[in-house]
């Protein structure tokens, strides 16, 4: 039963990704060409509300439903991994027009070729696991 809430949140997330056309390859192409405000509005409004909300949660020392500290997961400082990893991610994001969330949503949308993209994403993750000790972080 404790998983039902995550299923429902996933459904909401999937519907938002689909209905706001965030899963559309064309919207990502448009974003990287600065041709429309849509994607900037989506990410920008989420981040602005996110910043305000997280600051309030920190100020009030809010706890989770289970009385624990919130999992805000501060990132360890570094440059290489974020910049190089980010660039590789961006190359793929623009080519297939989907980041990990939308890949799964598109599966529900019935686009069979996205399975190849998902397979690639799992393979890429595996490759990182193999090469991790040799990469600058």
């Amino acid at each position: 039963m404790k998983y039902i809430k995550f299923l429902l949140l996933g459904i909401l997330f999937g519907m938002v990704m689909a209905k706001a056309e965030i899963i559309s390859w064309y919207r990502i192409f448009e974003m990287f060409n600065f041709d429309a405000f849509h994607m900037y509005g989506v990410i920008g409004s989420a981040v602005i509300l996110g910043i305000i909300g997280v600051q309030l949660l920190k100020k009030t020392k809010a706890k989770s439903l289970y009385g624990e500290a919130l999992h805000l997961n501060p990132k360890t400082m570094g440059v290489y991994r974020y910049l190089l990893g980010g660039i590789l991610f961006g190359l793929g994001w623009a080519l297939v027009g989907a980041c990990p969330g939308p890949m799964f949503v598109l599966l529900g949308y019935g686009y069979v070729p996205i399975l190849v993209v998902l397979l690639g994403a799992v393979m890429g993750t595996f490759l990182y696991g193999l090469l991790r000790s040799k990469l600058p972080h």
């Binding site: 949140l9 064309y26 996110g50 805000l72 990132k75 974020y82 529900g108 799992v122 890429g124 990469l135």
Partner: protein, 186 residues
């Protein structure tokens, strides 16, 4: 109700709902980050035999797999019941750029046939684009320690400098692909 939900949702509906999902996950004691599931899937497939990176407690990530299963269902529901018209209304500038790249019928569906048409699965070049694109996303997300949800939404919301660097990276990569590499591929 269905008619009310059927037109494309504007950004000022989508953005706040994404923030809501992030806060709900925090309240439920977890954190928003979809690409972690790719690592869990590797671990489930036995990748822990090849790298310690995949020696993780899969049970602790079960909630995230359920979340992703929900998102697939959300896509299915949207397609079946809420999207009578799959056309995407694009700006004139985008349509023209796509015509120059050789993409016909821009915006006729969510995805271009030139990349996601079923016939792409039977050509080496078509398969390569899908597979390499996916690999870049998977590799890059783990190298950077997060994807759009983990860095651009969760990380920036928590004012994390590393996330800002990652998002700058996402954009450098995206701009390189769209402006320099795609004209060479298509």
């Amino acid at each position: 109700m269905l008619e009310f939900l059927s037109p494309a949702w504007p950004w000022y509906v989508a953005g706040p709902l994404i923030a809501l999902v992030m806060f709900a996950l925090l309240y439920f004691g977890e954190n928003f980050g979809v690409s972690n599931n790719l690592r869990t899937m590797c671990a489930l497939a036995g990748a822990d035999r090849f790298s310690d990176f995949f020696k993780i407690d899969v049970k602790q990530q079960a909630w995230n797999l359920v979340f992703v299963a929900g998102s697939i269902l959300g896509g299915f529901i949207s397609y079946q019941f809420l999207t009578p018209d799959v056309a995407v209304v694009l700006s004139a500038a985008t349509t023209e750029r796509l015509a120059n790249l050789g993409f016909a019928n821009a915006g006729a569906g969510y995805l271009p046939q030139e990349i996601f048409g079923i016939e792409q699965l039977t050509s080496i070049s078509g398969l390569s684009v899908l597979l390499v694109g996916g690999m870049l996303v998977g590799f890059g997300a783990r190298y950077a320690g997060g994807c759009t949800s983990g860095h651009a939404i969760s990380g920036l919301s928590n004012l994390q400098i590393p996330s800002l660097i990652a998002v700058v990276g996402f954009f450098i990569g995206g701009l390189l692909m769209v402006h320099l590499i795609m004209p060479l591929i298509f």
